[in-house]
Assembly symmetry: C2
Homo-oligomer: 381 residues x 2
């Protein structure tokens, strides 16, 4: 293998695939980046068996071939090499030689035979979604996914594809986030994709005006955009039926509409002074719905009290609820709306946070719908 | 105590003194910030007994008094409170009440009697130094100070004041940095100030056009600038005589003059591929002085080799030296000069890095002199 390329291109490709380089030592070859040169295309590939990322760039290929270079090292070098042309050359399969104007770097390589093959990108269900929309949906649902690997289903984002409808849902059983939009799609599928993979794609897709092509097969999902392809395994398991979890309209007893940014400010302050409830329930804040305002309150015997009133539009019954402040903040921070409405069924039963009715009309135009269901915390007296 | 002030002013004062709030739990009151209101001056003060920071601002004082509020909590709240007026009020000595348009926050306080008094700011040796000069000197010497608390003298920066001359020196016994400049001073003193304190002052003094007044007493040193006063204990002990450590002119056998930024690039790359020597000696790189270039080389059986030639102006004997790459990088990164000269006495004896002769002339005008002495590493074959 012998290739000439620009250092900037090497840096771009290595940066793109780097996150898929395995950090575990179980299979050493997975800490490598596979470089293949064929025709006039140079491919960089890394996988930790959960996610695989491939980046294909154009390069002057003098001699075809492939090798697996040590990932972290190649990445650190690519960052430091500055700009200008360089040559990547294999010495047998055992060594990569990087030559540039002022010198050369050699590094030992892994055996290419040991590097896993990527599954072919094929599947009946396919569609195209603007990067901007994809990123919003992932941001809005990812917050509700769990990090607990013991219950794999909850570490994923459920992707529901149905004709020109795309829905993402995530839950850690304390809260549930649903984001819905339209896309140019065909076919019907419901799959669970690791939240980590979805976040990684959102990070890699940095051109908001670009599109992402999503292809779903039996056990894999493929994402293509720019010169990148990302393959992910699917999570096997039964995701809760979110339609059943959402309360029926007639159960709502109170509605609180408030400035989203002001509510964020209050909850952040309330979190500083707050009662730490045992068993990791986090910072508890109390919301009391008065006639024209909501009272936000938190207290702790050691840390004092926080007591604030925010103007709000309130209808329905007076109600007092306790929440984990972080669960509210997570949702409020990923929404775009100026005004949000809490639709409440009672002090111990689920409520829903969504765009306020006024914003909903505006939202109707942008087609994105977002719902965040959250359970109040029972506070022992 | 009852004071009206702007939230921005509270944030400014709390931010300034926050770093002196103790993070240890040995004496609880030291995790507090002392607030004193007298006349029309409001003082915020914190100390961990090594450093004390006081910030004095103007405020509308309705009722004089003082209290010690919990530091971290006050700081977190000040950050979240946004802008606008607020009232600080004491409820006895036990509680601080913060009132603002939308609500109020209360927090328990410490007893003011337990908070240590600050020593009076007096001393015979005094002078004034521009913030810009002070920060450069601290940046250039702090890199050579040790973090090893077992040898306190080496964790400090030695400050040598002699009439209108100010010199800072630091060493961890592997390298030694000397920065010298002029200041408007009188008297003669040699003291050792904790590097941590010097870094903190450099961080707090954010207006480069301001001046710092330094006052030295028997056991304390005082720094005043803007509306801040910083008091620090001095480190007791014997600092090595740096004049004795610097090699005599006739010992220099080779001189290497090179672009500072290019050398940084090379050393960073060489550090990626390098031989880890046991006992924490770090990344070893080899410099070989050829006729018109310097060869920078590092290797490791597992990680490959790095081999680069940089154009350089070289005089004297050919020489090959091994260095801890970090020791060279530390110095090169804090210098301002385009070209630097390594003056070398031999492959196992100290060398000096300083501005190149051409730059030295330019440097003469700005009056700052910088020398960095570094020992090559003995590499066992």
């Amino acid at each position: 293998m012998k290739i000439e390329l620009l250092r900037e291109d090497l840096l771009y490709a290595v940066n793109a695939v780097e996150r898929a380089v395995s950090t575990k030592n179980t299979l050493p070859v997975l800490s490598g980046i596979m470089i293949s040169a064929h025709g006039n295309q140079l491919s960089f590939r890394a996988t930790d068996l959960e996610i695989a990322i491939e980046c294909v760039i154009n390069a002057a290929i003098e001699e075809e071939g492939e090798l697996v270079a040590p990932g972290r090292k190649l990445s650190a070098l690519a960052k430091g090499l500055g700009s200008g042309p360089l040559t990547l050359e294999s010495v047998g399969q055992e060594q990569l030689l990087i030559k540039y104007d002022r010198g050369q770097i050699s590094m030992p390589c892994y055996t290419t035979e040991e590097f896993p093959l990527l599954p072919p990108r094929e599947g009946d269900i396919q569609g195209t979604i603007p990067v901007r929309v994809f990123k919003r949906m992932v941001r809005q649902t990812g917050i509700a996914a769990s990090a607990d690997e013991l219950r794999p289903v909850f570490t994923g984002i459920m992707l529901e594809l149905d004709g020109d409808n795309i829905t993402m849902v995530a839950t850690d059983t304390h809260r549930l986030a649903v984001s819905n939009d339209t896309w140019q799609g065909q076919g019907k599928a419901t799959v669970i994709v690791p939240n980590k993979v979805m976040q990684e794609i959102a990070r890699l897709a940095n051109n908001d005006d670009d599109n992402i092509i999503i292809t779903v097969s039996k056990s894999q999902i493929f994402f293509s955009f720019a010169n990148l392809s990302v393959t992910s395994r699917l999570i096997v398991g039964q995701f809760p039926d979110y339609h059943q979890v959402l309360p029926d309209q007639e159960l709502f007893r109170s509605f609180l509409t408030i400035s989203r940014l002001r509510m964020i400010e209050s909850l952040e302050l309330a979190s500083v002074i707050s009662r730490e409830i045992a068993r990791g329930k986090g910072n508890i804040v109390r919301l009391r719905l008065d006639e024209h305002s909501v009272n936000i309150y938190s207290s702790s015997p050691d840390d004092g009290t926080f007591d604030e009133n925010q103007e709000a539009v309130i209808s329905g019954e007076p109600m007092t609820l306790n929440y984990n402040a972080r669960y509210l903040l997570d949702a409020l921070r990923v929404m775009d709306d100026d005004q949000v409405t809490f639709s409440l069924t009672g002090p111990t039963t689920p409520g829903i946070i969504a765009a306020a009715a006024d914003d909903e009309e505006a939202a109707a135009e942008k087609e994105n719908k977002y719902l965040y269901l959250v359970l109040p915390v029972r506070v022992s007296k």
